[in-house]
């Protein structure tokens, strides 16, 4: 009995300590985004007064604090959306078909193809940094959305294809076989039977590639230097490296940049871990 109580107390202390460490930086960001810039110097742990000024700053066309080279934050948000949505749609289309082929059809070279997909997924972005940069410069796509989208496909396509392979393998084969006995071709079976069934996993697939593109820093940082084309990640980098850092505005930008991926992650929470580790890699 006493051992049990001791465990309970330890458990609650551990939970509180853990929650503090995890939440403090996030709380600090949200708090800072809601206070006037002048409070930065007072290093307040709790806000003295609350304002939406910083968020409004971000939405203004030209403002002192919330702009990078006279371009307002709404442009950067728009850029991030354009890039992420394009990557998502292209990846969804490509990886669904590729994943289906690798999961369901038998053909020569299938094992090698699967291996190539996994290796590409696991390859650290940094190994490809130099050659991708050279490639994109050589086809004149630096400082363009097309260039950055192409670079991001090197991350999203292998990963989402592999995710779809794992998913399609789990659907019973009989479903298409019945349709094909009735004379439907494989493609018809795929469109009429498998895809409607796979809607949830297609949503997860879209969320994966969207957040992957939204969270990118490396490729945008090396491929884009025109201010009007910057996504949020690198625009914020410019703010932080200025002479005067508008911390409150920067934190408001951080909150805005986090809202989208955090919402999406909470929706698909239970699929994430399986998707990133073993679930998607049932060889």
């Amino acid at each position: 009995m006493r051992e049990n109580e001791l465990w309970n107390v330890t458990y609650y202390i551990a939970v509180i300590f853990m929650l503090f460490i995890i939440l403090f930086p996030i709380y600090a960001m949200v708090k800072q985004s809601l206070v006037y810039e002048s409070e930065t110097y007072k290093r307040t742990l709790f806000p003295e007064s609350i304002t939406l000024e910083n968020y409004l700053n971000l939405a203004r066309e030209v403002s002192q604090a919330g702009s990078v080279g006279a371009v307002g934050f709404h442009i950067f948000i728009r850029n991030s959306f354009i890039i992420s949505i394009s990557v998502t749609l292209i990846t969804l289309f490509i990886s669904t078909f590729g994943g289906y082929s690798l999961a369901r059809l038998n053909f020569r070279g299938k094992d090698i193809c699967s291996l190539i997909v996994v290796i590409s997924y696991l390859m650290p972005a940094v190994v490809l940094m130099v050659p991708l940069y050279i490639l994109i410069v050589s086809i004149n796509l630096q400082n363009s959305f097309e260039g950055i989208i192409l670079a991001l496909l090197s991350r999203s396509v292998p990963f989402c294809t592999w995710f779809m392979v794992g998913y399609f393998k789990a659907i019973p084969k009989e479903l298409e076989e019945v349709a094909m006995i009735d004379g439907a071709s494989r493609i018809t079976a795929l469109f009429r039977i498998i895809l409607p069934l796979s809607l949830p996993s297609l949503v997860v697939n879209m969320i994966f590639s969207f957040t992957l593109a939204w969270n990118d820093f490396i490729y945008s940082f090396m491929l884009i230097d025109k201010t009007q084309l910057l996504p949020l990640s690198v625009a914020m980098y410019r703010l932080i490296n200025g002479e005067f850092v508008p911390w409150s505005t920067l934190m408001a930008g951080g909150v805005i940049a986090s809202l989208v991926p955090v919402t999406l992650f909470l929706i698909i929470q239970k699929y994430i871990i399986a998707g990133l580790t073993a679930g998607a890699v049932k060889g």
Partner: protein, 284 residues
């Protein structure tokens, strides 16, 4: 026979878009980086074949070994810390309680934030004159620190661990929850103490999950660029100049593409070994 040919054709045509992309943006660049490592190539000038000279001058340079040391220190301090804290967190979360669903959603937050956002937040927290960390240490009477100047490696390790522990913990939790309840019951009947249950039931069942996670974490920690670049940009001096940071500097600051390619190639064997290990353990 005819049916089989048709099936093969369908298979290939469905795969074509995937492989066009993978070859164009993954494999071609990989071959290119290998090729370039044998050339002297500065941005704006011609490629000159120099054989193994890039490799030789790299191995002979002090800076390269400093970079390797920083990379190894970073991996060896961050990965074990993530795994230990991850196991701890997972055990806390595994205890059935009403709070569990809420806790899971809160815990995932640091990992759900874009890496660059949490890096910016920590740059501010670490700031010696404006940051809240010094405010806390001063209030508690622990003094005033120049965090990223005095303890740069510790600084980036803390942020990297903070960002990735949620993922590790939730992956281990998934492993914990797949352990059969009967095993625990049997151990309890045999009169095993809490620690003994952990040692003889929990750990062995988790072995596979832990190995794969460790391998993946080594891979991802090794490739970490964003956090380090935003927090310290590799400094001060060579203290946090890991391989990815050095590759970036060679590419965009020295514009020495041949050398940058050589550095990327050197990373490849280590990377491939880990990948092969991960693939094998997932299959076996």
């Amino acid at each position: 026979m005819k049916l089989k040919t048709r099936e093969t054709l369908t298979a290939y045509s469905l795969l074509i878009p995937t492989f066009l992309i993978i070859f164009f943006v993954n494999f071609y660049p990989l071959f290119r980086v290998f090729y370039l490592s044998f050339f002297k190539k500065i941005v704006g000038s011609e490629e000159v074949f120099i054989g193994f000279k890039n490799y030789i001058s790299l191995f002979a340079s002090d800076i390269f070994w400093k970079v390797v040391t920083a990379t190894v220190i970073f991996i060896l301090s961050a990965v074990p810390l993530k795994m230990l804290l991850g196991i701890g967190l997972a055990l806390i979360l595994n205890k059935p309680s009403k709070l569990r669903p809420i806790l899971r959603n809160i815990i995932i937050l640091p990992w759900a934030l874009p890496v660059y956002v949490s890096a910016y937040v920590w740059v501010w927290l670490y700031n010696p004159s404006l940051g809240l960390l010094n405010k806390i240490t001063e209030t508690l009477g622990l003094g005033h620190y120049y965090w990223l100047q005095d303890y740069p490696m510790l600084g980036i390790v803390i942020v990297n661990v903070w960002q990735t522990v949620p993922f590790v913990a939730l992956a281990i939790l998934a492993g914990l929850q797949s352990i059969k309840q009967e095993l625990y019951e049997a151990a309890a009947i045999d009169g095993a103490a809490t620690f003994q249950i952990f040692k003889y039931v929990t750990l062995p069942s988790l072995k596979q999950t832990l190995y794969i996670l460790t391998a993946l974490q080594i891979l991802w920690t090794f490739g970490e660029f964003v956090t380090i670049w935003i927090l310290t940009a590799g400094g001060p001096g060579y203290a946090t100049k890991t391989l990815p940071i050095y590759i970036y500097e060679k590419t965009f600051i020295s514009q020495d593409l041949g050398m940058a390619a050589t550095l990327s190639v050197i990373a490849l064997p280590i990377f491939l070994m880990i990948v092969i290990y991960v693939i094998r353990s997932l299959r076996g």
